[in-house]
């Protein structure tokens, strides 16, 4: 068992331009069950001669029983794609697209509020579960290995770094989840922590945060009350100056709580094993698990 994705994932890919097609191919090579491709105007054609194309998500879901969607459409159209996937009743929607206007995400979050769909992103690397070869997003499949560590992160490549450190120390992953770097996003640290805590396959958790916002503090509150599994955490951006946005729209110090030091303090107070350097995540996890 993994969280969010697994053997029963039936994947729909929306937006098959250059990047979308490249990633869809990597996903299929890995062994993920991609059942539908959505790209308006390509009805009746097949992606790589195998996966049927549809012009609409609703039609694709009806014909293929897709239950999970991943979005690669350009930023100006991302909100529309997310709403279309929500309306089609997909259980999980992962939006990889970077640069979605914040006010679009504000609307999406208000819209999804009473719907059963779970959204991850926007601007995220997505989800990967090595044991079931389920890859929904862009996490490189060649760096992961099946195991019992759950990884949740606001960043993309720093997640890969953490995975590489775990593998280097002989530890595989149950599921890797990148929740994204935008200030307004779907699934939060707290949501993923809840899932990892309930997941039998996950023994311990790696949490990678960043400067900006208070989501790491909310995660710390949740861990204190509800998480019994060991958590190792690192916060990127301790060297960043205040008021400057570090790439991710959400990564900006705008008050005391947004500082890496404050986040570290809150997590440590919740019993989390905090590493001062993001280079020490694997080593610390090894030490914690003995």
């Amino acid at each position: 068992m993994a969280i969010l994705v697994g053997a029963d994932t039936r994947l729909l890919v929306q937006g098959l331009g250059r990047d979308g097609s490249f990633q869809a191919n990597r996903t299929r090579e890995y062994g993920t069950n991609m059942v539908a491709a959505v790209h308006p105007g390509r009805d009746g054609q097949k992606f790589e001669d195998e996966v049927p194309y549809f012009s609409t998500v609703a039609k694709a879901v009806e014909e293929t029983g897709a239950n999970t969607g991943v979005i690669f459409v350009p930023a100006p159209y991302a909100m529309d794609a997310i709403i279309e996937q929500i309306d089609a009743g997909l259980e999980l929607v992962v939006c990889i697209t970077e640069g979605v206007p914040v006010l679009d995400m504000v609307k999406v979050m208000a819209y999804i509020n009473d719907k059963p769909t779970r959204l991850i992103g926007s601007n995220c690397p997505g989800v990967l579960s090595p044991a079931t070869k389920a890859k929904v997003g862009i996490v490189p499949a060649n760096i992961v290995q099946p195991g019992n560590i759950g990884v949740v992160s606001r960043s993309g490549t720093l997640t890969y770094e953490a995975i590489a450190q775990l593998v280097q120390h002989g530890m595989g992953q149950s599921t890797c989840v990148g929740i994204g770097g935008d200030p307004v996003h779907g699934t939060t640290f707290t949501d993923v922590l809840e899932l990892f805590q309930a997941d039998d396959e996950t023994e311990a958790i790696v949490l990678i945060g960043e400067i900006g916002g208070i989501r790491e503090q909310l995660a710390a509150d949740y861990i204190k009350e509800h998480v019994t599994k060991p958590v190792v955490a690192a916060i990127a951006g301790s060297s960043a100056p205040a008021g400057k946005r570090m790439g991710h729209a959400g990564a900006i110090i705008t008050g005391k709580a947004a500082l890496a030091s404050e986040k570290n303090k809150a997590l440590a107070a919740a019993g989390v094993h905090v590493v001062e350097s993001p280079a020490l995540i694997g080593e610390k996890m090894k030490e914690v698990l003995g």
Binding site: S155, A164, A234, G237, T254, G255
Partner: protein, 411 residues
């Protein structure tokens, strides 16, 4: 979701970079279009224009240097003048200079325009702003009776004086919420209706222009109980500019750091950091921050944040490398690549090509992993550049420390 939090434990995102910052006179033009009352004012690019405007407005006017930074008043960037002739003289003394304020950094920002504005008889100075609060997931209006002060200072010293109301993402800001804000600001009864309308209109400015910040500081109540936005700051969200072609032209790249300006043109996420020595080139924002962190922990401040992104071609990599090289503070370069979408061989080719062109001799530390890493490492090894390889983030920290000791030793 009518969330109301009078006592915030932190301020929401208030961005100073990577958003499009516009001038006060441009912000005033946007406010005018949405019916937000502002003092009568016009912009001037020459001293004689300033004189004409001052005589048109009549009486005592204020001359305000147009730069993308606050703190102008304390350093002579905002001056009261009594006559059109004086407006001309003050403008002449400001134009062509660089204004250094507590927000500009030591080199200051060029003054190319001034705004000439009428003066008002002010009874009270208030504060009003709108930002997105990512943690609530909605735009939030912040109001305070402490006008003229920086909101960060108010939040630090007297957080109970900041009144916050979130707009509903689908409905907007209701009139009763706008009225709550006006009441919290304690405006006189005669100004309640006009202030409520101003708050409502300002919220429309924020939403309809995809702003990341709208800040009125101060918002003033005049002696005859009129309300007006005396100073306005508007930042536009970069990611939403595609649907506001008319706003794209408001960008003034002369107000940017030249290296940041070049990075923006090359579509690179770059932030120059004062006083750093190690230039960093990384793919991904989180990894870029982590790389800066280990650099600092190894004993040297990072000179920049630089995320080359996922799908950079060789030309963009070359420009990224040249931007780092053109930063005079840089003594060493750290490249940390964990290629997912990006290709290590293309990055390596870009680095070699740019280094040849700039005749770079600075020591470089390179960690390369992921897609085509072996090819990338070979390209770098076969070049005659001064490169030390590192296996990973932890390894890079060790090498940086060694290199720093070598640098200290040679000095």
């Amino acid at each position: 979701m009518h969330v109301r939090q009078q006592v915030p434990d932190q301020l929401p995102v208030k961005s100073e970079s990577s958003f499009v910052n516009i001038h006060e006179y441009q912000a005033k033009e946007i406010l005018d279009r949405f019916g937000v009352p502002t003092p009568r004012a016009e912009v001037a690019s020459t001293a004689s224009e300033a004189k004409e405007i001052a005589s048109r407005i009549g009486g005592r006017v204020v001359v305000k240097a147009q730069v993308h930074a606050g703190g102008r008043g304390k350093v002579g960037g905002v001056k009261l003048v009594e006559t059109p002739e004086e407006a001309k003289q003050v403008t002449a003394s400001l134009l062509g200079t660089r204004l250094v304020t507590n927000q500009t950094g030591p080199s200051g920002l060029p003054v190319e325009k001034v705004m000439i504005a009428e003066t008002l008889d002010i009874k009270d100075e208030l504060y009003l702003s709108i930002v997105i609060d990512g943690d609530i997931g909605a735009p939030v209006v912040m109001a305070s009776t402490e006008g003229g002060m920086e909101i960060e200072q108010v939040a630090e010293a007297t957080p109970e004086k900041i009144f916050r109301v979130a707009g509903d993402p689908l409905i907007g800001l209701t009139t009763y919420h706008a009225r709550d804000i006006a009441l919290a600001l304690g405006v006189p009864a005669k100004a309640l209706r006009t202030t409520t309308k101003l708050v409502t209109d300002l919220y429309r400015v924020f939403i309809e222009n995809d702003c990341s910040l709208v800040e009125i500081n101060p918002l003033v109540i005049t002696k005859d109980d009129q309300v007006a936005a005396l100073d306005a700051k508007i930042n536009l969200e970069d990611d939403a500019l595609f649907r506001h072609p008319e706003l794209g032209g408001l960008r003034d790249s002369n107000q940017q750091d030249p290296l940041e300006q070049r990075a923006e043109q090359a579509d690179l996420a770059y932030v120059k950091l004062d006083g750093g020595r190690v230039g960093c080139m990384v793919n991904g924002a989180g990894l870029a921050m982590a790389t800066m962190d280990i650099t600092k922990a190894a004993g040297a401040d990072p000179a920049n944040f630089l995320d080359i992104g996922g799908s950079a071609d060789q030309a963009r990599i070359e420009e990224a490398f040249k931007i780092i090289m053109d930063d005079d503070d840089v003594e060493m370069i750290l490249v940390n690549l964990f290629a997912g979408i990006a290709r290590s061989d293309i990055v390596a080719q870009g680095i070699v090509a740019a280094a040849k062109e700039t005749d770079a001799q600075l020591p470089m530390v390179v960690a390369m992993r992921g897609t085509n890493a072996e090819e990338g490492i070979k390209i770098l090894a076969d070049s005659d550049l001064n490169i030390t390889g590192a296996p990973d983030l932890a390894g890079a920290a060790v090498v940086i420390k060694q290199k720093l000791q070598e640098l200290e030793g040679s000095n």
